[in-house]
């Protein structure tokens, strides 16, 4: 079971460290990181294994979102199923 964490906003020092720390706190294991551009924004995509997530997914997503808000970033954590549903037949 995987979560897709996207970070969108202006590139800044320490993004990966901050998000990784939160993932570690919840026992989410980051398996992949890629960077891209969405419109004019920096977009980082992390895939995390959440099979052994400690705690509630909603709480994990909320805390990541709050983390983003603190640094002016849009951080979203979404279950992989939504991407599979939309883009695979």
């Amino acid at each position: 079971m995987k979560a897709v964490i996207t970070v969108i906003g202006k590139d800044q020092v320490g993004i990966i460290a901050t998000v990784s720390a939160k993932c570690a706190q919840f026992g989410a294991n980051i398996t992949e990181i890629t960077q891209s551009v969405l419109d004019k924004y920096f977009a980082m995509i992390m895939i995390a294994d959440i099979s052994a997530l400690e705690g509630d997914f909603a709480k994990f997503a909320d805390e990541l979102k709050a983390l983003g808000e603190k640094s002016g970033l849009d951080i979203r954590c979404m279950h992989e199923d939504i991407f599979d549903a939309m883009h695979k037949i």
């Binding site: 897709v4 996207t6 969108i8 890629t34 891209s36 969405l38 419109d39 977009a43 995509i45 895939i47 997914f57 909603a58 997503a61 909320d62 849009d74 979203r76 954590c77 979404m78 279950h79 992989e80 199923d81 939504i82 991407f83 599979d84 549903a85 939309m86 883009h87």
Partner: protein, 452 residues
């Protein structure tokens, strides 16, 4: 392995193009609440709703978090109240409406639908009492939505009910005159009403449904509009494909949410309603989709054709994305709930007559249209009769939700707020249909052979 571009496309749809799931609606049967005592009936209804839907809002909120997709409304639809009201008189029905409202408040949902009667062929005493009570029920409740089915392809049109509903709409407006006639925004008159519609104001839990069911209504006009704009100057075959592919993706989200909600709530999944439901927000408009196809303003020549193609392509794309499709399924064209429609009405490009033509090729009908406050009940009945006739003859659902705004004339603004939006008062043809409406009786059901 999830492709990076796919991830970014989804994120962009949610961030920039207003992709959301418009509603998760739980249908609840009230047959087992029946009692010959109205107070007992009300307490049975309250208890049944509180136990059936107690986890609806929290579950939907958890699913929003899980998939990162907004679920705008959490709603409940119930068995048409005229089926369970028994011997209640109009006052008893108002009591039931207040019970529904109290349950809706306590559940934390946005609307509750099913304060309804189906009278396409005839009217029971219960339906009669419910219809009498509608204006007061809507004035004294906040979240209760009402609908009355006055015609069908199989039964024809109950013109007595049509005449009556013109008066009910006027009365509902008068009783909520201090709130821009909000009562009328919660009242729909239908032809061929469907049993599993998750959208308000017309949702009810039909007779053939089970005890409890989850229906989901999808949305996404902004996503379709942006996809069409990105496709650029292509021909209609290509355009239809672009819409189909987009509708597929939108509907898959609805299917995923419906499946998850059904699993978590332990309630069977009913249908996904493949609708393009606009909101007054910029970038969430069906009118703007039509304009993105090359129309200067919605309502001009070409509008009906554009809408017909859009509606068909949305269904074709959506059908493959969902295991069970139902409800109203099509593009909605409410005026006050769609920024593009509002602008088109304000500039005079969009008229009531053009909207009527548009309803022949899409879902659902003359929706959220403000008309002058001095429009007579007979004229409103005439508008209803025309719209119901389109549904009856074309074997489709049509509906009328018009708001005769008290004290307001053409061009003045009526403000409902929230998803109900605002709208300018539109011109109604002033020619009288009084004698026609006064005839009463039934318009016979149409023949469906001899198609030429």
């Amino acid at each position: 392995m999830i492709n990076t571009q796919d991830i970014l496309e989804t994120i962009n749809m949610i961030r920039e193009e207003n992709l959301d799931v418009r509603t998760v609606t739980m249908g609840v049967s009230l047959y087992d609440c029946v009692s010959d005592d109205v107070d007992k009936l009300c307490s049975n209804i309250y208890d049944k709703l509180m136990s059936s839907a107690k986890n609806l809002v929290s579950t939907a909120e958890d699913i929003e978090k899980l998939y990162g997709i907004p679920i705008v409304n959490k709603r409940v639809s119930v068995t048409p109240i005229s089926y369970v009201g028994g011997k209640a008189g109009p006052d008893g029905y108002v009591k039931i409406a207040k019970t529904l409202d109290r349950a809706a408040h306590d559940l934390g949902i946005n609307f509750i639908g099913g304060y309804s009667a189906l009278v396409q062929k005839g009217m029971t005493k219960g339906a009669d009492a419910l219809i009498t009570s509608i204006p007061q029920a809507l004035a004294e409740t906040e979240m209760v939505c009402s609908s009355v089915n006055v015609g069908s392809t199989r039964a024809g049109i109950n013109m007595d009910a049509v005449a009556r509903m013109g008066r009910v709409v006027k009365e509902a407006a008068a009783l909520t005159a201090d709130r821009d006639a909000i009562g009328c925004a919660k009242l729909v008159v239908f032809a061929n009403a469907v049993d599993d519609n998750p959208f308000m104001a017309g949702a009810f839990h039909g007779a053939g449904e089970g005890d409890c069911v989850i229906n989901v209504g999808v949305s996404g006009p902004g996503v379709v509009e942006k996809a069409i704009r990105r496709a650029g100057d292509c021909d209609f075959s290509t355009l239809a494909d672009v819409i189909k592919k987009t509708a597929f993706k939108i509907t898959r989200v609805g299917q995923l949410v419906a499946y998850e909600a059904s699993k978590r709530l332990g309630v069977p999944y009913g249908i996904v309603d493949l609708s393009l439901a606009p909101t007054p927000a910029i970038g969430d408009s069906v009118a703007c989709i039509l304009e993105s196809m090359g129309l200067e303003t919605c309502g001009g020549p070409g509008t009906t054709a554009a809408l017909a193609m859009l509606n068909d392509a949305v269904k074709k794309g959506g059908v493959m994305a969902s295991s069970h499709v139902g409800g109203l399924s099509g593009a909605f064209i409410p005026v006050s709930e769609d920024a593009g429609m509002i602008a088109a009405a304000e500039c005079g490009s969009l008229t009531l007559e053009k909207l009527e033509a548009m309803t022949a090729v899409c879902s659902v009908g003359l929706d959220m249209i403000c008309i002058p406050g001095d429009t007579t009940a007979e004229t409103i009945s005439g508008i209803i009769a025309d719209e119901i006739a389109i549904g009856m003859v074309n074997n489709k659902t049509t509906a009328v939700r018009v708001i005769p705004a008290p004290g307001k004339g053409i061009g003045e603004k009526v403000e409902f707020g929230g998803l109900l939006g605002y709208a300018p008062v539109m011109r109604v043809n002033p020619v009288s249909c009084e004698q026609f409406i006064a005839r009463g009786g039934r318009i016979p059901a149409p023949i469906h052979s001899l198609k030429n």
